[in-house]
């Protein structure tokens, strides 16, 4: 066959495009591998801020450490907690959308992505809200999204 001959001229253009596209994909792959595998994990947010409390509380729930999680609830709720059924939470991802403080209450809006995330399709994203109250100078979780709720009566009282 005479492959080598006509590889020169007419085939030049797609080959150049192919090389460009393959290098872009290669670059994306290398950067993604490096970044994903060298990152330490989620940043620890200052635990005195509302976001920090939300993070510590949610991590405790995800790890199944309910006694630690209980410490982030307001005193009244801690005493008469109507325990919710525990959830198993796999592959939860939570990002802060906004955090608003009004004197002694705060609202943290988060985007939560649930599901295994295998192949990107099987997960679903929703926007959820944590509300917090200031109790003795420390932020406490007043209400949480349903699958991170520890007590059924969470957020009802006051």
């Amino acid at each position: 066959m005479v492959h080598a001959d006509f590889m020169q001229e007419p085939a030049a253009r797609p080959d150049r495009t192919l090389i460009a596209i393959l290098s872009i994909i290669g670059a994306i792959v290398v950067i993604a591998l490096v970044v994903v595998f060298t990152r330490g994990g989620p940043v620890d947010v200052d635990p005195t801020t509302p976001e920090g409390v939300v993070q510590s509380y949610s991590l405790a729930i995800v790890d199944g450490d309910y006694s630690t999680a209980r410490d982030f609830l307001p005193a009244e709720l801690r005493e008469n907690c109507d325990r919710a059924d525990p959830n198993t939470i796999q592959g939860l991802r939570m990002t802060v959308i906004s955090s608003t403080i009004n004197d002694d209450t705060a609202v943290v809006r988060v985007s939560m992505e649930r599901g295994s995330g295998d192949f990107g399709g099987s997960s679903y994203v929703s926007e959820e809200v944590f509300s917090l109250v200031l109790e003795g100078g420390v932020w406490k979780i007043e209400s949480a999204p349903w699958d991170l709720t520890l007590c059924y009566n969470q957020g009802i009282g006051e």
């Binding site: 492959h3 006509f6 007419p10 085939a11 253009r13 797609p14 080959d15 150049r16 495009t17 192919l18 596209i21 872009i24 994909i25 994306i28 792959v29 950067i31 993604a32 591998l33 970044v35 994903v36 595998f37 990152r39 994990g41 989620p42 940043v43 947010v45 976001e51 939300v54 993070q55 949610s58 991590l59 995800v62 796999q90 592959g91 939860l92 991802r93 939570m94 990002t95 802060v96 959308i97 906004s98 809006r109 988060v110 985007s111 992505e113 295994s116 995330g117 295998d118 192949f119 990107g120 994203v125």
Partner: protein, 551 residues
């Protein structure tokens, strides 16, 4: 006069008289619609009554008068009506008019497919349950009644005098596909459960489970039933040897798309699980290995189905071969592109400071597996290094393939841009953090990147094709051929169809002709003819008259 289709399919002699249209068409539509409705209602009524009969001695309390009344009404009113309607349509006089109409095979195709699906699903479910709970007549009635309905339609489809003359082989082809799906699905589940059982035995994590042999046997019931169904239609009825358009489409779908996609998804998921194990995934091993059984089984079964059908495709026309190859290139491209999309998605996920990070690693590994597997398969099927050689540019169907890719790319781009735009505006109006925009639109951004890359590559190919001196790919120059010939002309019909791609109608001579022209002579006479409709008269002593017609 031995054509290849004479092995098993009794191809009905192409009818001379096309069906009369006008009010007859409306009459046919209404008759067959009514027939289908009454048959379905009568079958459900009879199966309901039969079910009661089967479970009569097991009944302890019954106040279900309404149910019984419904079954009685369905069976006793719709049944006789169906019989009358069928008698009206099946009479010689009616069938002589309807036989060439397309509505008759469409009715048969829909009803036999519905009956086949209903009866096989009922029977296989019943058999799978019987393995666990033992003999239980309940549920068997539906399977039996619908199997009879199917057999009845099968008999009509193959009736020597009244079988439809249009859409030959469509219903058996669909039935063989259904059988193949049961067979492949049953095997995937059976093998997958065996592998899962082996993994579970190694990890010893399973606390509660049905016995493995039971689960495997239940899947094998479906596989065995599907195998029987497939074998019967594929070999006995002769779908394998058919060369009609419908069977070709089916073959391209099985060999180019379905088995290829099954194989690819199996390999992708297996590779993801292996990579997660190697990189030390944070989730428990049992969770990582959970999809392993089904993945390996899908890859293995997909490969077997692919290899078998690839050999069938190899014996087909150039058009079928190239369509299969292009379809599999498209499937691999879709896997590779979604792999790129997921990889970009995982990369963007690291840009925001999340409170809880989730499992970005497994997301990335899934994307990379799809990219690697899809990319490798694409490289083999599309062969990008020779993509612009003249013989490749002249491949039939190449432009159609490129146009489909552009169309799909445009569609994906439109959807992802809408999503990104929506997230952008809601971010601007809502005053969330900057991270939240990327966080909420990263899936769309990933897909958009992949789509742009795909479109850019194929656009370069397209431009190069336009500039190359290869002429337009083979165009169909004849729309319809009406052939006047005597005796069995199926070989000529197949040859003319293959050579020109035209639709062929045969008008059979009343009396035989001395030494008719042979197949090659007729095909040669059509060479270079360019018309929407051509009349071909196979005459005495090898003469062929080719007459162009208007419209």
């Amino acid at each position: 006069m031995t054509s290849m289709s004479s092995t098993a399919t009794p191809t009905p002699p192409p009818s001379a008289t096309p069906a009369v249209g006008g009010v007859q068409t409306v009459r046919r539509v209404i008759t067959y619609l009514l027939l289908a409705t009454t048959v379905i209602i009568a079958a459900s009524g009879v199966s309901g009554l039969l079910d009661r009969l089967f479970s009569a001695n097991r009944l302890e309390v019954s106040f279900d008068n309404y149910g019984l009344a419904t079954s009685l009404a369905s069976a006793l009113i719709a049944g006789p009506l169906a019989a009358v309607l069928w008698w009206l349509t099946w009479r010689d006089a009616a069938m002589a008019r309807d036989r060439a109409s397309v509505i008759w095979p469409v009715y048969l195709m829909i009803m036999s497919t519905v009956a086949l699906l209903t009866s096989t699903i009922a029977l296989f479910t019943w058999a799978a349950e019987a393995i666990v709970y033992g003999w239980q007549p309940y549920g068997l009635a539906v399977g039996i009644v619908w199997a009879l309905v199917w057999a009845w339609h099968y008999w009509m489809w193959r009736h020597p005098l009244k079988a439809p003359t249009r859409l030959p082989g469509a219903a058996p082809a669909i039935a063989s596909l259904i059988g193949l799906i049961y067979l492949a699905g049953g095997l995937v589940f059976a093998v997958g459960r065996l592998i899962d059982a082996a993994v579970d035995a190694l990890l010893s994590t399973v606390v509660v489970s049905d016995p493995v042999w039971q689960l495997v046997l239940q899947s094998l019931v479906w596989a065995a039933g599907g195998a029987l169904l497939w074998w019967w239609h594929w070999f006995r009825v002769g779908v394998r040897a058919q060369s009609h358009g419908f069977t070709n489409v089916l073959l391209v779908f099985i060999a180019g798309i379905a088995s290829y996609a099954l194989l690819a998804i199996g390999v992708v998921l297996t590779l993801t699980a292996v990579l997660e194990l190697l990189t030390g995934s944070p989730q428990p091993v049992a969770v990582t290995l959970d999809p392993l059984g089904i993945s390996i089984a899908s890859a293995a079964v997909g490969a077997v189905v692919l290899i078998y059908h690839a050999r069938v495709v190899a014996g087909r026309s150039a058009g079928v071969r190239s369509a299969t190859r292009l379809a599999s290139a498209g499937v691999s491209l879709a896997y590779a592109a979604s792999g790129v999309g997921v990889t970009v998605n995982a990369l963007l996920a690291t840009s925001s400071n999340s409170l809880i990070e989730g499992n970005i690693r497994s997301l990335l590994l899934g994307g990379l597996s799809a990219l690697v597997v899809g990319g490798a398969l694409w490289w083999v099927t599309w062969r990008p290094l020779q993509a612009s050689t003249p013989e490749r540019v002249a491949t039939p169907g190449r432009r159609v393939y490129l146009v489909i890719i552009f169309g799909l790319s445009a569609l994906v781009a439109l959807i992802t841009l809408l999503v990104i735009g929506f997230q952008l505006f809601s971010f601007l109006l809502d005053a969330g953090s900057g991270e939240s925009f990327v966080e909420r639109s990263r899936q769309a951004l990933g897909l958009l990147t992949a789509t742009v890359l795909v479109a850019a590559y194929h656009f370069a190919i397209w431009r190069n094709d336009r500039r190359s001196d290869v002429a337009e790919e083979h165009v169909q120059r004849i729309g319809r051929v009406t052939l006047v010939a005597s005796g069995d002309s199926s070989a000529v019909v197949d040859a003319v169809r293959a050579a020109t791609g035209a639709r062929v109608t045969v008008l059979e001579r009343a009396d035989a002709v001395q030494r008719e022209p042979d197949v090659a002579e007729i095909v040669a006479a059509l060479d270079g003819v360019d018309a929407a409709h051509v009349l071909v008269v196979a005459g005495v002593k090898g003469k062929v008259a080719v007459i162009r017609l208007k419209g």
